[in-house]
Symmetry: C2
Subunit: 294 residues, 2 copies
């Protein structure tokens, strides 16, 4: 059990962590830290948190676990102050969608003051955001990637893993670089592509949206996500996104050339290969959950 | 009421038309025409159709409505034989995903023998196919585009519209060219893009699929569609797909350049504009259904 859990940023993810910790009794005392007291009041009224503050240093001062759950660009900016204020036995972790930058900042801070940091990324977003849509079961069945480095104490990794496993999530360990390349491919690239699909129809004729059916709706659902959050993600993960865009453009060009060439058998073989890969993904999602934490 | 309905091709769409006509009593007698008797037997056993045959001419001989529901490339090949065998007062219609080619064939056939043809496209597909997944309510709430031309008798358009309205569909009238450009943008392009997204991840590292969450699943669901059907659609609608691909590439390039330039405000403004367009689409889907048939 966590004695004192500090959640920094009480949006969809931070709010859901607080709700979950309260519902499952994972923490004795929960303090929420945010920019404006008004935004935090709702959580105190709900009984989801015990204490609220806009003072980061005061909020983390006696915490044994600090969960940084602000937008990804803000995590990097708040980390130095949280690092200075946290007690020596404290474990810091985060929910940022990209990991290289944050882990690099944590490592440079650890050089002057050793403190346990575990990079984390719960893959349980939504196109909606804010405390109002947070819920205790948000992470059930979700994947949570943790990105420890050589400097991460095993005990700290264990504590953070246990929190996510108590949430019903599946914990996977990756190095920060692999994580960022993987999410560029399966999350950031599809987002940019969904945005471009909507924009393409607007460029051709906005009236065409009148015949959009389920296929278009599914493919572009994520284009309705929060602009600021995604601008930050795209910029933080720019080089990995560029790599993923390169692979995507090559794949699209090759498919178009096959269609242009008119070789029916070759087009069908390509589509069948891709369909098979997509179906393996679906059968994996349906398989029973397993933890791959060490 | 239709006296004798002939459904050519008893897959997802043809099977659903037959089930719907039976369930709502829209046709007195239903004949199903297909390639192999085994494939049709199930529908006769179910009582969904009254008569089955592999002989197209015999099947349509005394029909007053013929629904061509084979894959899109096959419709064009079967149309001449169905045209010759159908009685003079018969109305022919189809469910093909592209309309210019089929309507052009019908118009050239009408030059030698006047007969009523109404091009149709119910936008109610699925990544699954075959009679086994057909259902009477498949078209409820779906959009059905009809593409009459100057040569289409108003009475024929009315009969086909009424059938789809009885199915609970929303009927929209478009010219064949606009239809093909619109579906290239909102259906065929998203399909090709979904295929390329899956292939891009396979090219980068198939292991990355291990962290694919809901966003990737939604965006690529349609990549699990039938390869033969989609190869035919891509090839039939090649020039409109090319136009849509051009607009998509331009949109993607512009978004990437904005991200590269690092102008936060400009990126957020673009994402906000696209999000607003996507949200209008969602609110339109939630609005009460209206028929826009003339």
């Amino acid at each position: 059990v966590i004695c004192r859990l500090a959640v920094v940023g009480l949006g969809l993810l931070g709010g859901s962590v607080a709700r979950l910790a309260r519902a499952k009794g994972l923490a004795e005392h929960i303090v929420a830290i945010g920019r404006s007291p008004e935004g935090l009041e709702a959580a105190r009224r709900d009984g989801v948190v015990d204490e609220i503050t806009t003072d980061l240093a005061a909020g983390v001062r006696s915490a044994d676990l600090v969960m940084l759950a602000t937008p990804v660009a803000v995590i990097g900016r708040l980390l130095p102050e949280a690092w200075r204020a946290a007690p020596p036995d404290c474990v810091l972790t985060d929910v940022g969608s990209t990991k290289r930058t944050i882990v690099r900042i944590a490592e440079s801070l650890a050089a002057s003051r050793p403190l346990a940091f575990v990079g984390g990324h719960p893959m349980a977003g939504s196109e909606r955001s804010g405390y109002g849509v947070s819920r205790a079961d948000l992470f059930r069945g979700a994947l949570v990637v943790l990105t420890p480095t050589d400097g991460t104490p095993a005990e700290a990794l264990k504590r953070v893993s246990e929190l996510w496993e108590a949430a019903g999530a599946r914990v996977v360990i990756m190095d920060p670089d692999t994580h960022d390349r993987a999410v560029a491919a399966v999350s950031h690239l599809p987002h940019l592509v969904a945005d471009a699909l909507v924009d393409a129809v607007l460029r051709l004729d906005p009236g065409f949206l009148g015949v959009a059916a389920r296929g278009f709706r599914d493919t572009t659902r994520i284009a309705a996500s929060d602009p600021q959050m995604w601008r930050e993600i795209f910029q933080q993960n720019r080089d990995a996104l560029q790599e993923a865009l390169g692979a995507f453009r090559a794949a699209l060009d090759d498919l178009e050339q096959l269609v242009e060439a008119g070789d029916a058998a070759a087009v069908e073989a390509e589509l069948a290969r891709i369909k098979a890969a997509r179906e393996r993904l679906e059968s994996r999602a349906a398989a029973p959950e397993r933890s791959s934490a060490p």
